[in-house]
Every structure is written in structure tokens, then in C-alpha cells.
Symmetry: C2
Subunit: 167 residues, 2 copies
Amino acid sequence: MKGNDDVARQTQEKRAATGLFNEAMTGGGAIDFEIIESFFFAYRDFVSDPDAILAKSGFGRAHHRVVHFVNREPGMTVADLLDTLQITKQSLARVLKQLIDSGYIQQVAGPEDRRQRKLYPTRAGRELALALAEPQSRRIARAFQGFTPEDRKAVTRFLAGMQNARD
Amino acid sequence: MKGNDDVARQTQEKRAATGLFNEAMTGGGAIDFEIIESFFFAYRDFVSDPDAILAKSGFGRAHHRVVHFVNREPGMTVADLLDTLQITKQSLARVLKQLIDSGYIQQVAGPEDRRQRKLYPTRAGRELALALAEPQSRRIARAFQGFTPEDRKAVTRFLAGMQNARD
DNA sequence: AAATTATGTCAATAAAGCTGACATATTATG
DNA sequence: CATAATATGTCAGCTTTATTGACATAATTT
């Protein structure tokens, strides 16, 4: 087992006398730390834009997501929204209630199935969704500056590929 | 102001008699809703992998971030970490304490400035960071399948461009 | 000697999620 | 028609991750 000993010694050299690791974890090229970190920073900054706007209305990210998807697909039901956001009914309830009480979203009983509550944005709801999307869209446009159509397609494919398969 | 009236009427047509909006908000091509949503889903699924691992140890995302960056830059100080994560000292304190108490991270007084607490991963800490990065890296590799080097570069540039400028 | 810096800690608070349990109205099914 | 299933709402309690403010200690700088 000489090979294993060599590996062990090599690893040992990277540690101080205390048994701690002094060297940056690089993954030896096998782990893509650069993309992992870049993705983290990119997303954090990406959501910081709407966060600032939401703070003025006393809303948070949860409200953003609800108002966004209801605007993107007016008439979606509560069940649709739960499916899209993958949160629990109880989590959604509080946020949705606040948006309805504040006049950004309205519920309409389903025309065929009257148990359903179909969700629609009001004018204020539509304006809020647009105001929240605008800085994000500007950020995306900035990041795309100088990109060829192929480059843009690569980004689109990448973001799709990072997602779990959907039914 | 006939032009304005036309726009108002046009918008009005998109609403039901109730004043609600029935049509999907598309932004008329000006707002990049596709990327906004794709980025949301991609990031959510991206962090779901480590979340599952962390749950076993009773840790959360905050612990992930700390263990990740300490491994990436061993010897970083508490101030460095606060700067990187952009959270408050008090938020970091609890998480860091748990990681130290559990034997994943150790503190060493700074050799020049002994007020500083330099942070180092233990062997367990390094292993945890690797275990958390592994599924994320696999997901990235999957998303990159069939990508040319130019495609990959486009993604890297995009993620960098989405971030705020750093000092 | 005094001010600043790096860190730690206590207390209170908030946002956003969770689980479990139960209620109501409506629709579907045997 | 009675019962089961579905869509939604709601109550209560809990957790994680963040926040602000205040204060303490040790070490360094001025």
C-alpha cells in the first residue's frame, strides 16, 4: 500500500503542526469552486435589487415571488402557486393574505370548480411586479453586454440545465 | 393626447370588467422574465443539494457558507468573513460558534495582530466542505454537458457580470 | 493615556419558512 | 344520497437565519 502512504504524506504536508489546513481548498480541478462561488455572489446581488424596493412596502422576498408568478400567470390557483414555489400552504397563506389585504392581488372563485381561488394581479400588483423586475432585468442586460447570440444561448441553456427535471 | 388615450384603451382591454389583469405579464420584450425565472429556479435547485446533507448534521445554509469560505481561504479572519458574507457579526457568531464547538473550524490568534482570530478548517471541516461542494459541482458539470469552451466562458462572464462591483 | 480596532456576547426582534391539526365548501364517486 | 376526496383557510407552536443595540475585553495605534 505504498501509493496510499504517499497520498497520506502529501495531504499531511498541507497541514500545520496543529492538524489544521493552511492551503486553499481547490478541489484539484475536480470541483468547480469558481462557478459555485460566482453563482452564490451573482444570485445574492441579483435579489438585492428588489429587496431594497420591497423594504419600503414592508414586504419581503416571499411577497416578491408570489406577486411575480401571479403576474406571469394570472388566474393561477393557490395549488399552482404552491407547486411553483415548493413551499407549504401555511407559509404561502400569510404572505398571500397580506398581498390581498394590501390590494396587490385579488382572488376569484374558479368558474368551473368553485373551490378554487384563482389569483389575479390588480393594477397596483402589476405595477409592483414590473418595478421589481426592472432592476433585475437591467442587471441581466448589463451582464449580457458584448455577448453574441450564441453566448446568450449558452447562458440560457446553462440556467435550464442547473434546474431539477420538472414533471 | 390621442396617442396616450390609445395606450390607455389598449391596456384597458387586457383587463376584465373587475379591473383585474388576465394576460400574462410579458414586459413586451423589454423585461427579461425568462432569465429572471430561470435564475430563480436554478439557484433554488442548486442549494437544495447541500441542504439535504446539512440537515443530517443539524446545520443550515449559514453553516455551509462559513465552512465553504474558510476552506477556500484558510486563515481568513472573522472580519474577512463578515465582509465576504455581508452579514452582521451577531449573525455570524452563533453559526461560527457551532462550527467551532463541533470541531469543523478552529480559531488561531493572529501572529502579528493578536486581536484577530484566524479561521482554519479541521480535517472534518475540510471533508464537510468537499461533501457539500460535490453535488453542486456535479450539477454544474451536468449543466455544462455538450458546451464548447466558448459557451463555458460565456457562463463565467455572465455570472461575473451579474455581481456588484467589489472594492 | 486615550482612541481605535477586532472580537465576543447578551437581549430582543423579525422574516420566512416548517409541522400538525382541524374546519369549510365543493366536487366526485360508490 | 351518503361518503370520500379535493381546494382552501386557519390556528398554534416551532426553527433558522437574519436583524439592531448595547456593552465588554483585549490588543494595537495615536
